[in-house]
Symmetry: D2
Subunit: 345 residues, 4 copies
């Protein structure tokens, strides 16, 4: 449910609504302050709530139910785009796309420092790197753990880039939050409500990846989990869904680019695209990066390594910093076309 | 199997190979003449063929097996891009994208003439319109039939646009070919080998749409059906696959844009995209058109109508000619970015 | 729309309704005569039909709209199970399951006669065999054509089994109908409305296979195509849908057995299962046959060959007549459990 | 890698191999003792391991690589079926199927005690009930938590049934293990390697549900995660995958019953089926339960409630204890047919 306050409502009016909802119904609330209006959302089961009574409180313009399973992150709840700022980098509508780049896994101090320098020179503005790797096989390389985070933080600082790394387990949340600027929830953990809630409590931006079998409705419903903890600094990331059709598959996953304009309509949160995992093929990243930006993505997340063939994981989908530069350059030109068109009468 | 002739091979050398294959093995052949070299393909089961003997014939450079189920349309067989020309419009690599537009169904002479004029003014260069509609329900409008084709041909002539229309049944192939310039095989008929072969025999270009459950391998294998009839003027069209995930679906299908760069690598045939059926939502067509062109598509196929809400079929996914113009304009700018980048050192 | 006649309505009442619908609205009708009541269905677009007027005609009990895209084959339209009889073999609810067996492709007179004898001895009661094979690759064996049909008909007659064979193309419909007792529409042609309609006109039972990407709603909507031609002798066949999930697939398709009870609820038509194509693995056919019968299937369609490893097509999914016998025997026992249970108070 | 010991190998031989692998390569090992032979598995990256050297140690019969991502749970590694015993109930090949039943969520002491009594009388032998519910919406009922576990344990004790409940979060693992006999990992957490490992360490049986988007290969790879912790008391559970096809869906998920015989071939672990979540429809549970047992499942997991329509969650898929009794009875008859057939010459 959304309670929209009148443009002239004062702080006391807002507090009155919040108190009323808490005391009368025992529900938590979410207060979103926009440029002109404030919207108050109810968290939890609203079946017993009396809308008319709420709408009659001083300063309230109207109160209405939102039927989708995501409410707090819905544009129907709050219409203004959210721009997330991390150490000076802005992510979201109205800003140049962000380019998050780095290796799949942090392998050594030397590796991450060298890659940081090279992707920075290529134009990337956020540094990624995995320290706790989610792996299908218990028999594979699982990441460097805290040592890796330390290297990542060091490299980010050295080259002036905020950092992002996946937090795979609830028990690592505080540790990862201690080192990195953005906490990534991987595709396999998109349905992991406890992990999302733990991560959201750290008060750092969340990068939430869509599960490969999840509908957009489910994706946004789990973003709602973070929002319900009071953290709306959520960056959504499309990274490919299960491919359809029998026989040989040419890509690991199937990048669902129509999710980009759909999500832009459904929520005010930024949506980025990961063409590396989304295709699993380095020779497709150039084309799919362009397509993602043309579709309206607010950024890209790309795996890069100075020596893709020797990377300890995900080598086949990693590109060189030189290729990254070419991608960033062309994507900025595509973005310029988008902006020019959107500004035409 | 591909038999690559030496650059200096003469007509007699080619005929010798053809005769040898036909007489010795009873197989049909396909002769592809490139700028520098000629490649001869064998059609049918080659298990008994003696490669070494073939490779030893005069004028033959080498002979090798192609293991994929599509051979004649494979880049491994023949590397040069195919550009298809219809009444002056060129479709394929190295040319400005084509814009195929028109209503889902032809409803009347007035309707198709008016739409033809309006999409022509908007920048479209090929006119589409359905006369024999494939329909899930036997209880729905099934199209105007021959009368519709007549109107379509008239409108195409009036505004100097080649035409395309779906041929749904073998029994209509000759009729449709009598009126239109490009024969469309719809997504539901992609696996209909007899229809594809009948259509290919008409010696007019084929526009083959990918089935929503087909892998790219299957898609190209059925394009091979047309090529094996000696007709390689095949325009491939991605139009969305089955969406993944439970619950509310935001799009009718899921446009598989990574199919575009994959298909460009696998075959020399042009690949276009249909964002109308691919999304089923008019408010997504602008974004997905841009994305398709950015991904490298050689053209777009878009449903347009002066009054989308009154269209007898597919109204929710139809746009106005005015919106079409906006799409064509921005797509040309995106294409310009592609070309500029590809030409950079 | 369904017009349910009163139990005591006479022939004149029925004709009056039919005339009324035809003359007033130009629609075709379908007349279903049950043990106690007759139901009249309208074919085509009923938007303009005045229900109240219809309901007021003499002998009419009630008239109501059916909103699903399939109406004539819906249980909501007509509640009695349909049992199809072919040369003494009964297919449908209340009868022992039918066992349709034979090779994928008819390879020679000797082959089909030998297999016919062996599957007959194993307990099969309908003989299958392909003469016009649908093939992905133009380079594969395409079937013996008319010669094959001739052999199949001969073998069926010799061993007292009705026959079924796929009709792949509209141009072969009459030819196939001349030789076989049941016309099969393959999974790839499930969306081919013209082929279904042509086949239905032959007044022989249709065996319609579900497309691997089709929902049950679509499946029944295309069965409706045959029913609208006045032919309701339609045997539905579940044969596997596209498998979900990445990486190694253990089966070619994924047999959707919950389709069996769902379809039994939605329609009065019989539903059988093809575990051969549904799994693509001979070692799974025993288990999945049992499961299909336990789920309520009215029969099975199984590929069998005396020498599976030498079969010209689909060898990996073919079993021997000896294995077939074991399957038929156990399935009859499972069926006996079903019957016993269903008869318990 | 599997190191198969000779039938006559003694304890010292086994220890020697274990020491060798640990000290030389720093890898963990898994020792599986069969009736006749012992097999030693290596855990971790074996790229550097010298097979010949290992095979030459005293008491070793042979050493070979297993290429699939699951090894310890593979039949290629260890051929004997695993039977898991919990408080006298045996789960696995050669035993009557187990019937796990109970409500979706524990709602009160009265509710779970009443249901426990009723499902016990119906023939169920394990009691289920959710205390920490995984929910898509943050706005729904989330379960009673520890209170619920206490009630569940009490009810299980009262009626002599072992209990199972889902553990959704790492932080609850010890708590859930304190009360229940079998720890369930839900479908949404199948990819949650940390949770699986934490749960496995509790030395209680694990019930691992397949994710709705997971291939069988991935499913077994995550069972491997538990096995690598030294816990092979793993009960696998098929509960439906994402449905295919557009338009109206008749079931929430699509029960993949061919997974049952496939999994029986791939691993020695027991596999059960959950037709409640697998269909989402109470009217399909009877048919699909029979089909699951006919396909070879070692048990069923079914949601039951004395008043399905008033259940706080999953009402549409819950059945009454009376219906449960009917299902258990018929499934035992189907199982008897299976056993009789398997014992035939």
């Amino acid at each position: 449910m959304a309670v929209v306050m009148k443009p002239g409502a004062n702080e006391e009016d807002i507090k009155r609504v919040v108190r009323f909802v808490r005391e009368r119904y025992g529900l938590r609330v979410d207060v979103s302050r926009g440029e002109f209006q404030t919207v108050i959302g109810l968290i939890g089961n609203e079946d017993r709530v009396d809308f008319e009574q709420l709408a009659a409180l001083p300063g309230v313009e109207r109160a209405y139910r939102i039927t989708s399973p995501y409410r707090l992150v819905s544009r129907n709840f709050f219409p203004e785009n959210r721009v997330i700022e991390v150490k000076g980098v802005k992510i979201g509508e109205g800003n140049v796309p962000v380019f998050i780049a780095g290796p799949c896994a942090i392998e050594s101090r030397e590796q991450i420092f060298r890659i940081a320098r090279e992707v920075h020179e290529a134009g990337a503005n956020i540094l990624r790197g995995g320290a706790f790797k989610p792996r299908t096989s218990v028999h594979s390389f699982q990441g460097l753990g805290e040592k890796g985070l330390e290297y990542l933080a060091g490299a980010g600082e050295e080259y002036g880039m905020p950092t992002v790394s996946e937090v795979r387990s609830e028990k690592h949340v505080e540790l990862v939050a201690k080192y990195v600027d953005i906490l990534q929830i991987g595709a396999r953990n998109m349905y992991n409500q406890d992990l999302i809630e733990e991560a959201a409590k750290q008060k750092k931006p969340i990068l939430l990846k869509r599960n490969f079998g999840a509908s957009i409705e489910e994706f946004l419903s789990f973003a709602e989990r973070a929002a319900a903890q009071g953290n709306k600094d959520i960056i959504l990331c499309e990274r490919g869904v299960l491919p359809i059709g029998r026989g040989r598959q040419f890509t690991r996953y199937s990048l669902d680019l129509s999710a980009v304009p759909v999500i832009r309509k459904e929520t005010y949160l930024p949506i980025i695209v990961d063409p590396s995992h989304g295709t699993g093929r380095r020779d497709l990243i150039y084309s799919m990066s362009k397509a993602a930006i043309a579709a309206g993505a607010h950024g890209l997340m790309i795996e890069a390594h100075y020596n893709p063939d020797e990377a300890l994981s995900d080598g086949p989908q990693m590109i060189t910093p030189k290729e990254l530069k070419r991608i960033i350059d062309v994507c900025k030109r595509i973005y310029a076309v988008n902006v020019m068109e959107d500004n035409m009468p």
